[in-house]
Point group: C2
Chain length 104, copies 2
């Protein structure tokens, strides 16, 4: 579908993408983690897109199997949610994924 193509293009064209909701503390946590690491992700606030928000959330579920927010992509690769991202950070792997994605 056109929406699915647009989501795929978004995550392919932007090194770090976070699908988020403005009121959600897990989404805030992941956005502020990236900021602390000096990274400015492309943030898409699904609750600010009217009817398209839930549609994008459905597309993301089709593409990634994940229906929740936050939904994080680095270098076009699906990373997961808040817990997954924080786990990678504690393992030291997040930082290398980020430098790979932001340096090409």
């Amino acid at each position: 579908s056109r929406l699915e193509d647009s989501v795929k293009k978004t995550v392919a064209d932007n090194p770090v993408v976070v699908y988020s909701k403005t009121w959600c503390s897990y989404s805030s946590e992941v956005k502020s983690l990236f900021n602390r690491l000096g990274v400015q992700p492309l943030v898409i606030e699904l609750d600010e897109l009217g009817a398209q928000g839930p549609q994008i959330q459905k597309v993301l579920e089709r593409i990634t199997g994940q229906h929740t927010v936050p939904n994080v992509f680095i270098g076009g690769k699906h990373i997961g949610g808040c817990t997954d991202t924080v786990k990678l950070y504690h393992k030291g792997e997040l930082q290398s994924l980020l430098s790979e994605a932001t340096n090409k």
Copy 2:
């Protein structure tokens, strides 16, 4: 107002009360913390109460100054949100508040 009286009665009559939303991970965290501590809070899922949910959330803001979920009460006393509750747990104070409230 009648709704405000009903909220005040709920937190007075129940040792542990959590105003929550079913989809919210911060709400889930605080509910599961209480479960791990062997406590069964009275949980009120604001997203399952139709139009009354936002009304109760407004009443809680009037009573506690807090407009977010989760909103936690122990022994009729306003504790705060997820972060506040977890902080008290790490300080060892949560457990004493809980035993006081559940033992009278």
